[in-house]
Every structure is written in structure tokens, then in C-alpha cells.
């Protein structure tokens, strides 16, 4: 069973928060939506799980009890202990008694919180809170797991542990879709969607997105801004020539995924402005 959105749009008053998004979420895969603040990531995920209504298009999702959803903030109760949080979440999804005990013990061991069972949610570090929230969403073995920025503000060690937990669910057959603002997390996905102002500006496997960058990319080692579509990268500049003509002094460079993201954003901006050169 595959879920997802087809040509989905969401309007808040006069603002089009999601503009014709099509995305498939398949079992045993991890999909990642990458975008900045206000790009529409949360709206996309909320539209998928049914928390906001579509103004156009279709959302295909399983019944509510088959979804695990972790919002960008919270996802757990700060005044309940770790155990109480799990029991509460289990109760909401009909996981009780021996099954709750077994499943909780397994997940707590995986997220390294076995020793913290009686601590209050609010006393956990940010990384631990996120791990517990994802663990709570996995308690009832949902076929669809939807995670809004599960790793934002989490240090790289906890991030690796979180992704191990999330990928483990995918290995067991769960369809996973997660949002992130960290571009470098995209390489964890089988399918990535780059979202900007509610619109997908690129979609595919990270390697496909990188390989399909049009034109030429160059590096210019100077502090002065080169001609053309250029952005600062470290102490040097990157310059992108949609028509393959790099400015003189630019050294040709194979784009990596981060370059591809920047180029997709620049092309999108050019298309928005009706700039024929950048299209």
C-alpha cells in the first residue's frame, strides 16, 4: 500500500501554503522533505495526516490508527514520566497490558532511555525528548510514520541514534516521511523533495537530483563577487552558468547535493521573476 499526495494544495486565507504537491510515500522507504522556515513542510505533513484540509488535490492515507505522527514541537508531555508518556500514547492507539510493556521495553532500550523511565519528559535533554517522541509514535507499529523536523537542534550523536530508530522502522516495512531544514540529511532518503514557498522545486533520489543539474558550476577563489549567479561558499565563491558559459577565472567543479539545492532555488527564483536567462 502506498500513500501520499496528488496535486495537493492548501490555502490559508489568501495565502497558498501548499501549491500542487505530488509525493508518494512507499512502505520500507524513507522520504525526506527539505526546506527552510515557511517553505510549507509542516503544512505538507499535516495535509498528509489529515490535520489540515486540502483546497485541491487528493491525500491518500491509512486510517488514523495506522499513522504515527510527531509534530515539530512537543510530541510528548513534559509533566508525565517517560513510562507515563508511553502508556498514554499506547492507550490512545490501543496498545495495552503485556503488549505495551513488551513494546515499551524494546523501544526504551533502542533509544537508550531504559534508565530514565521514571524521569519527567520535561527533564530530558532536547535530543532525548525527540527520541522519546519518535518512540511514542512507533509504539503501535504504524504502517505510516510522519515526522516533522525530528532532528532539529539535536546534536550529531543523538541525530545518528534517531535516524537509526527511524530507519529501523522502515526496515520493518513502515513508510516514513520526515521533514528537515538540514540539507545534508537528504542523503539518508530514497526520495527527497525540495520545497520552497509551498512548491516542490526538485524531487527524486539525491543522486538523481545532483546528476540532473543543468549548465556548469565553477569555483572562483577570490573575495570579490564574480559575474553571474554566484554565492559565497567558504572563503571562495561558487558560480553557476545555466548556459554552460562560466566566467573567466572560474574553475569547473562537479556539483554536490548542496550545490544542486542552491541551483534549484536559483532557477526557481529566476523562473518566478520571469528571468529567461535563468530558466
Amino acid at each position: 500500500m502506498s500513500w501520499g499526495l496528488e496535486d495537493a494544495s492548501v490555502r490559508f486565507g489568501s495565502k497558498l501554503a501548499l501549491d500542487g504537491v505530488t509525493l508518494r510515500v512507499d512502505p520500507s522507504t524513507v522520504g525526506i522533505v527539505v526546506g527552510g522556515d515557511g517553505a510549507g513542510k509542516s503544512t505538507l505533513l499535516r495535509a498528509l495526516v489529515g490535520l489540515v484540509q486540502l483546497s485541491g488535490g487528493v491525500a491518500r492515507r491509512p486510517v488514523k490508527n495506522d499513522i504515527g505522527y510527531v509534530p515539530a514541537t512537543a510530541g510528548l508531555y513534559v509533566d508525565l514520566t517517560v513510562d507515563e508518556n508511553l502508556a498514554f500514547s499506547g492507550g490512545a492507539y490501543g496498545v495495552r497490558g503485556a503488549e505495551l510493556a513488551r513494546r515499551s521495553a524494546h523501544l526504551l532500550e533502542r533509544i537508550g532511555l531504559t534508565q530514565a523511565r521514571s524521569r519527567l519528559g520535561g527533564q530530558l535533554s532536547g535530543g532525548m525528548q525527540r527520541k522519546l517522541a519518535v518512540g511514542m509514535a512507533l509504539l503501535h507499529r504504524p504502517p505510516l510514520l510522519v515526522l516533522d523536523e525530528p532532528t532539529t537542534g539535536v546534536d550529531p550523536v543523538s541525530r545518528a541514534e534517531l535516524w537509526r530508530l527511524i530507519s529501523g522502522a522502515a526496515a520493518e516495512g513502515t513508510a516514513v516521511i520526515a521533514a528537515t531544514t538540514y540539507v545534508d540529511e537528504a542523503h539518508r532518503a530514497s526520495t527527497v523533495m525540495l520545497l520552497e514557498q509551498g512548491r516542490p522545486i526538485a524531487i527524486g533520489a539525491p543522486a538523481e537530483i545532483t546528476a540532473s543539474v543543468p549548465g556548469a558550476l565553477g569555483v572562483v577563489r577570490s573575495t570579490a563577487q564574480p559575474e553571474g549567479l554566484a554565492w559565497r561558499w567558504g572563503a571562495a565563491w561558487r558560480v553557476w552558468a545555466p548556459s554552460d558559459d562560466l566566467p573567466s577565472g572560474a574553475e569547473r567543479l562537479e556539483p554536490d547535493f548542496e550545490d544542486a539545492v542552491m541551483i534549484a532555488a536559483l532557477s526557481d527564483q529566476g523562473a518566478e521573476r520571469g528571468d529567461a536567462h535563468a530558466r
Binding site: G36, D37, V157, E196, P206, W233
Partner: protein, 287 residues
């Protein structure tokens, strides 16, 4: 390049706990230095010592060749992750308030935020709020800037503009210290300092920090089964598309998979910065 901030054997204890343990770091004019570390590594304590908010228990902290004080405070700018702006004041009011607090000369509002000068800060998108926070921090022309995750949470175009602001400032002579969990930000820095358990455990360029470390990459017809086998061994296995990346060496991993009747192509690949970081900080500590 003149050294703006420097610690020599800086140590800070809280009771019996040593938060920062004999740390030597330096930030020079015109460079962007990235400070990395897991939570509890001692980054915040180190920054607080550099800002003059905490005294070292032993060792030395030098800011512009003297001990941190109110006089040195005027010469540095700090942008916390929470930005430190007044949401219910306009951009111009925030700017004027900070310039006045630093008794800085009245400078014109920078071009980067002039278009939104009369907007309330709280109403702006995050990318613009960050640009305002930078502009405000730059308003008294600090010689040293300390920035906490300066470009996190914004889209690619905003991120590029923020880095341009940071680099423009460095090109004018400012030294910049960036603390971050974000590997994209780390890769933009000229030099990195990696902390774990209060100590500097790696430093240098991205390549110096990675130091030729490798990671085992596993490709298998059923990545799901391979994942379960490696995961059950307690390995920090990471999914990358349909490949698996796991610390260790190729042969034992190959043998482990073979014992579970899994045919896999197992190779050693160069580690990325995040993988190297996790390997460095988990090597000496038990979490």
C-alpha cells in the same frame, strides 16, 4: 593575522565536574572558526568564558590581548540561537536600541534590512530575522563575532545571503566563531575545533578532522534484512538511500552478514564530516 581571542589551558570546574578541561583555541582576524561538540561537550561554558561571563578556574582567556571585561565586551558581537531581538519592536528600533547600548556612532541602517526597517521583528520570516540579528550585532562594528547556528532553519537562498553577510564581515577583518550542530555550517568554516567531554579532540580543516577516516558501506539486495542484522549487533547503522553505512571494518561485517545468509557488497568508503564527528566523540566517551 592578529589573534582576537585565545584560550591557553582554559579550565572551568563546577564543583567536582570539569566542564572545560585545558582548552587551547584561538580566533584570528578574517577567519571563520567552527566550534563543534555534542551536547554537554563544554562549548557553552567555553563561549561564556570568552564572553567574560565566567572566569576560568585555571588557565587563561584573552580577548584582544587582555582579560574579558566591559571594555572588551564592546568590541564583540554575539548572536544566540534565539537571536536576542525584541519581537514587538521594529527593525529600526532594535537597531537603534543596540547601537545606543554600545554607544556606537549612528550608522545608517544596512541595505540588507532597509526594506523592512518599519516592520515588527516578530512578523518577519526567520531568514530575515536572522539578517536583522546579524545587522544589529554588526552595528557597533565588533572585531569578534560569536554566532550560534547562524544559518539553521532557513531556505537555500536565505542561507546564502546570511553566509555572505558573515563572510563580508570577515573580509573586513572580523574574526568569527560559529558554534553549531549543523554539518553544512561546519563545512563553510575555515577551521574547526571539535570538543568532547570538555576537551579539544580534533581541530583543523574539514579534511584534517575527517583525517582519512573510513566507514563501511553495505549494499545488499535486501537492505532491510541487512539493517536488522547489523542493528541487532548494537551498531550505529545509518541508512543512505538503499545503502547502509556502519562504523568498523569490512571483513567482520561481511562475515556477520554471511552468517545470516546475506550476500552483500561491502566496501570501505571515505567518511563524511558527520560520520567522522560521531566516531571522534563516541571513541573516548561512554554515553
Amino acid at each position: 593575522m592578529p589573534t582576537l581571542a585565545e584560550t591557553r589551558g582554559a579550565t572551568r570546574r563546577f564543583g567536582s565536574f570539569t566542564a572545560v578541561d585545558s582548552v587551547d583555541v584561538a580566533v584570528n582576524s578574517r577567519e571563520v572558526v567552527g566550534l563543534l561538540g555534542a551536547n554537554g561537550a563544554g562549548k557553552t561554558t567555553l563561549i561564556r568564558m570568552l564572553l567574560g561571563l565566567l572566569r576560568p578556574s585555571s588557565g587563561e582567556v584573552l580577548l584582544f590581548d587582555s582579560s574579558p571585561s566591559m571594555a572588551t565586551r564592546r568590541r564583540l558581537g554575539y548572536v544566540p540561537q534565539t537571536l536576542g531581538l525584541y519581537d514587538d519592536m521594529t527593525v529600526r528600533e532594535n537597531w537603534m536600541f543596540t547601537s545606543a547600548a554600545f554607544s556606537a556612532a549612528r550608522l545608517p541602517l544596512p541595505a540588507s534590512i532597509r526594506d523592512v526597517s518599519d516592520d515588527l521583528v516578530g512578523r518577519l520570516p526567520l531568514g530575515l530575522q536572522r539578517r536583522v540579528a546579524f545587522a544589529v550585532a554588526f552595528s557597533h562594528q565588533p572585531e569578534l563575532l560569536v554566532l550560534d547556528e547562524p544559518t539553521s532553519g532557513v531556505g537555500p537562498l536565505s542561507r546564502a545571503r546570511l553566509w555572505q553577510d558573515i563572510r563580508d564581515s570577515a573580509d573586513r577583518g572580523t574574526g568569527v566563531l560559529v558554534t553549531t550542530h549543523n554539518m553544512e555550517e561546519a563545512e563553510q568554516c575555515d577551521r574547526l575545533v571539535v570538543m568532547a567531554s570538555g576537551q579539544v579532540v580534533a581541530h583543523g580543516t574539514v579534511a584534517d578532522v575527517i583525517a582519512g577516516r573510513e566507514i563501511v558501506q553495505v549494499r545488499c539486495a535486501s537492505w532491510q534484512r541487512a539493517f536488522e542484522v547489523l542493528d541487532a549487533e548494537g551498531l550505529i547503522v545509518q541508512l543512505q538511500g538503499e545503502a547502509l553505512r556502519v562504523p568498523g571494518s569490512a571483513r567482520p561485517i561481511q562475515e556477520l552478514l554471511a552468517r545470516h545468509d546475506l550476500q552483500a557488497s561491502v566496501s570501505m568508503e571515505p567518511a563524511n564530516l558527520e560520520e567522522a564527528f560521531v566516531s571522534i566523540v563516541t571513541a573516548g566517551t561512554s554515553r
